[in-house]
Subunit: 94 residues, 7 copies
């Protein structure tokens, strides 16, 4: 069984972004790239030049790679992947 | 897919407002500008001239830009956008 | 759309009252003025002459102005409005 | 509208009682006086001569005055009324 | 209305018992005396000769007096009655 | 009524075990001895030679004596019985 | 009854892994090996060379041995087994 059948259901990313785009526009751009998903962005800390964000994306099949690409495209950095939840829908017993 | 299809479901704003209008009238004005939404305002701190508010608006399609405009129209300042939740209803798999 | 259509669903008031009327009679008077509402009064602090109360009124259409008037009529003071929740039932999308 | 239509749904009393009757018999006496209600008594502190109780009575129409009378009849003192919840079933809009 | 109609729904007792019988056998004996009830025993503290227990009995009609008798019959002591919940099923309005 | 009709629904044991068998094999052996039950083992502390476990067994009729026997058979020690919940299904009112 | 009938429902592992593969790829590999299961990986601590993970696998029949094998195959170490939940579906009363 290949990785292709694995469904990522939830990912939590620790992201550092410049002040522009603001959290609202940043969330809109992220959500545009994530068909069928819910996106939740919490601003954890604000500095003079940057904001630390907790980005949580949930859905039936979260496109994590595309999301990370979009985050980088806005000028932000994925500081770390904090949580990943995945499901293997094919029962394939020992 | 454009940003237009993205639905904002919840936004939390950190707002600094003068003592007038009071929290009740401020909430009424905000709610008037947010058709089909629930608005929750918590007074976090009261100073001699200003109040710090946590403003949370939830709904099927929260009009964030219009809400921010109304907040500014009352003489208050949006100190920061603290949380944004959005949904992409179109499933558009990788 | 005018403010008249806005429905206040919940309000939390910080109230300072003299020891008389006691919390039970005070609650009864408040509730009499709030048709169709639930009233919850918590005594937060008791001093020799006064009591600090957390007054929470919830309902489909909380008559906040009338409630504040009744509170003042008992000889008590509304120290601050701590929370307001309101709803705009008319969907009026951007 | 008179106070008579107001329904008290819950009351929390801070009570100081002598060691006799014990908490079980005290609860039974209180409950006897409160038709259709649930009574919960928590012993918060025990001293050599007295016990501090948190007495909570909930029901559709809690007879608070009769309950306070019964508490005094056992030799106990109502130290304070800590919480009152009431409802106004008649919708009487502004 | 007499006390006989009052139903005790829950009682929490603070009990000090010798190490024998152990908590399992002690719980079995207690439960045998409490028809139709659930018994929960938590060992709060263990000393060289004794154990402190939190004993909670819940049911439709908890036979508190018989339970206290059985506790004493095992050589244990009821240190205090910590909570009592009772219900008056007969609505007998003021 | 004899003790035989009493149903133990849940037991929590504080267990000290050698590092072998590991927590997985230990749980499997325990579960084998407990027909119709759920077994939950939490490793609370790991030392160089031993592990402290919180062992919780729930079921319709937990065979506590057999479980304790199996624990001892693995070389582990039941340090204490921390909680017991039991039920008396036969209503046998006072 | 042999161990073969025992169903492991949940396991929590404390894992130390090199930075590569990252948490997302690590989770995908783990999930591929666990047919019919949900896998949740939380990054607890990040050091210059390694990450500490809390790995939780839940399912109807978690293949713990195969999962531990896959973890080791990625270059990571199972530091400890922190929780195991298992069920014995065959009722086999004392």
């Amino acid at each position: 069984m290949s990785n292709d059948q694995i469904l990522v259901k939830r990912v939590v990313l620790d992201v550092l972004k410049p002040l522009q785009p603001n959290a609202l526009d940043f969330t809109r751009q992220l959500t545009t790239s994530a068909g069928g998903c819910q996106v939740k962005v919490q601003v954890v800390e604000v500095d003079s030049q940057t904001e630390s964000l907790m980005v949580e994306v949930t859905g039936e099949n979260v496109p994590v790679d595309r999301i990370i690409e979009v985050i980088r495209g806005t000028g932000a950095t994925v500081h770390s992947i904090d949580e990943v939840e995945a499901e293997n829908p094919v029962s394939d017993r020992e």
